[in-house]
Amino acid sequence: MWGARSIGATVLTLVLFATYLGIGALAHDSGFSLGWTLASTAFVWAGPAQIIVITTLGSGATVLQSAIAVTVSAIRLFPMVVSVLPLMRTEQTKRRHLILVAHLTAVTLWVECYRFLPQVPRIRRIAFIHGLGLGLVSVCLVANTIGYTLAANLTPLLAAGMLMLTPLAFLFSTARNCRELADVIALLLGLLLFPLAALLNSGIDILISGVVAGTIAYGVHRARAGVVRVRA
């Protein structure tokens, strides 16, 4: 319960709420059912992947094209899970005890782990994360339902405002999470290259702009690391 109560103590909950309000509206305007939308939140539990599935399938991409775009966006979950699990592992912890923690791991939880866990005794950490993670999922299911219902009933003006929540919330939370120069360059180039890649109309435009922009950003990171090493 301690974990579940902590969702009240985070601004990110508000951002998450806004994001999932937007996802609910987006799913409605892309022609998906409310049950489908809630299932995507419960079982995917990753905002970017959900938006990719909704926008790609909604705009006529094939299942394979969406699956590839989703899986590439989800690679980032791998390092998150890898870095979060050691924080709560004890001598007695079995792998199956950590399955739900792995499922709940997404960017918000990942950030909050570093903030909250130092104050939580190690043996209570798994329970804490279950409470926090499931609390966040519940908040998002409610937000989805509200966003979906509102999008069906709002004036076009306010419905447009609701759809705009998604890009704004993601842009600023990503910008805030940028820790290194490589992250900043990846964000900027990713924004700028997408309109160019979209001209290709390949069905995997997002992947093309993402891999190109990300690799250039990584190249800059390497080049700078090289310069620093030479100076030292």
Partner: protein, 114 residues
């Protein structure tokens, strides 16, 4: 109830296109995570690509807007993002400030245009 779920085919597609390709990385992290250095070069690259993909999605929604958002002129959507970003920076990276200012600019602009 059937309209709540929609058709089952769509739900099956959700699992194939969304759930499995997403979940696989978490489970790989759970199984093989122990031996990987969080700061390794490979993970720096993965993080950069993942960030750029996310940026591409943000750009896609703004550049090729879905549904009701398409009724807002291009320049107003771009202007709202720019205003939101300015507020985000001025308010010392407050996500909240950025979202609110972006929304207000877009909604007020569209309202004024009629």
């Amino acid at each position: 109830m059937s309209s709540f779920i929609g058709d089952w085919h769509a739900l099956a597609i959700l699992f194939v296109a969304g759930v499995i390709p997403n979940q696989i990385w978490r489970m790989l992290g759970l199984w093989f995570g122990g031996g990987i250095d969080e700061n390794s070069e490979l993970l720096v690259w993965v993080r950069a690509v993942a960030t750029a993909i996310l940026a591409g999605i943000i750009a896609q929604i703004v550049v090729q807007p879905p549904g009701a958002l398409a009724s807002v002129p291009d320049w107003l959507r771009y202007g709202a993002v720019a205003a939101g970003f300015a507020a985000f920076m001025l308010a010392r990276k407050s996500i909240f400030a950025g979202v609110i200012v972006g929304e207000v600019v877009m909604i007020a602009g569209k309202y004024w245009l009629g």
